[in-house]
């Protein structure tokens, strides 16, 4: 890493982590939603640093945009006192913390031991200077079948949500 990259890396990862912490520990769920935007912007920065430019835009539009708006919109339809007035933590919160720290330590050991071949690092991610083109080529040729499966997932979610939330007209 050059020093410039290291600085940018430090800033965006700090944004992502602080955003995530804010999400988890904010009292008010509306604030949580805002912290989530913050965290996702940081994540998008990480993606840009990894030269995944298409995914950076995707992250900003789909996650920081659409999904947060969707969640916030549903929260708005529900009485604020019911959503905002909850006490924060479940009674067994200590167990949750212990389990999560266990996971974190395991994954840290894994990250320090992990060995991958970096000789190709940063290569092959673009065709003729375009990351989007490389991504599209891979998505629509090699991974055509999973792509079609994703269509079914989205259709199931669409139908399911309509079925669950529609009210019968008496």
């Amino acid at each position: 890493m050059t020093s410039m990259e290291a600085i940018i890396f430090a800033i965006v990862s700090l944004i992502a982590v602080v955003g995530a912490l804010g999400l988890v520990f904010a009292k008010n769920p509306y604030h949580s939603a805002l912290w989530m935007v913050f965290s996702f912007v940081g994540l998008a920065g990480l993606l840009a640093l990894l030269e995944a430019y298409f995914l950076t835009v995707l992250q900003l539009i789909v996650y920081a945009g659409a999904i947060v708006v969707m969640i916030a919109f549903v929260m708005m339809t529900i009485d604020f006192r019911k959503v905002g007035g909850l006490s924060k933590f479940v009674p067994q919160w200590l167990w949750g913390l212990i389990i999560s720290f266990g996971i974190l330590i395991d994954l840290f050991i894994l990250a320090s031991k992990m060995k991958i071949d970096v000789s190709q690092s940063g290569k092959n991610l673009a065709i003729a200077g375009s990351n989007t083109k490389a991504l599209g080529m891979e998505l629509f040729t090699h991974y055509l079948f999973p792509f079609e499966l994703v269509a079914i997932i989205l259709l199931v979610a669409l139908i399911g949500v309509v079925v669950l939330t529609k009210r019968e007209i008496k």
Partner: protein
């Protein structure tokens, strides 16, 4: 860039923070957002490994993960609406009719 460990560390920290949110919060909406953080950071691992191993398929997998996460969130929100409709609350601990 040759050193992937800091990137992996950030992704794993985000994953663990998401796990804390799922396990300790009472509010179903916050649980939903924490799940979102978890699955997104797992997707980030795909992109990190895609960059350092020089294959573009990891980025394709991120798109798949994002699509799945979006549909999961939609269904989760529908369940939240139903929770509110039957009990007028979104507190996950209030839903304990069935004993363990």
């Amino acid at each position: 860039m040759e050193n992937y460990v800091p990137f992996l560390m950030v992704a794993f920290i985000l994953f663990a923070i998401g796990a804390i949110g799922v396990l300790v919060r009472r509010n179903f909406f916050v649980v939903l957002m924490s799940l979102e953080i978890m699955i997104n950071s797992a997707g980030l691992v795909f992109v990190i490994l895609s960059y350092f191993s020089g294959t573009v398929s990891g980025q394709v997998f991120f798109i798949f993960v994002a699509a799945v996460a979006a549909s999961e969130t939609a269904v989760g929100l529908a369940i939240a609406v139903l929770m509110y409709r039957v009990r007028h609350t979104v507190d996950v601990t209030e839903f304990s009719m069935m004993k363990r």
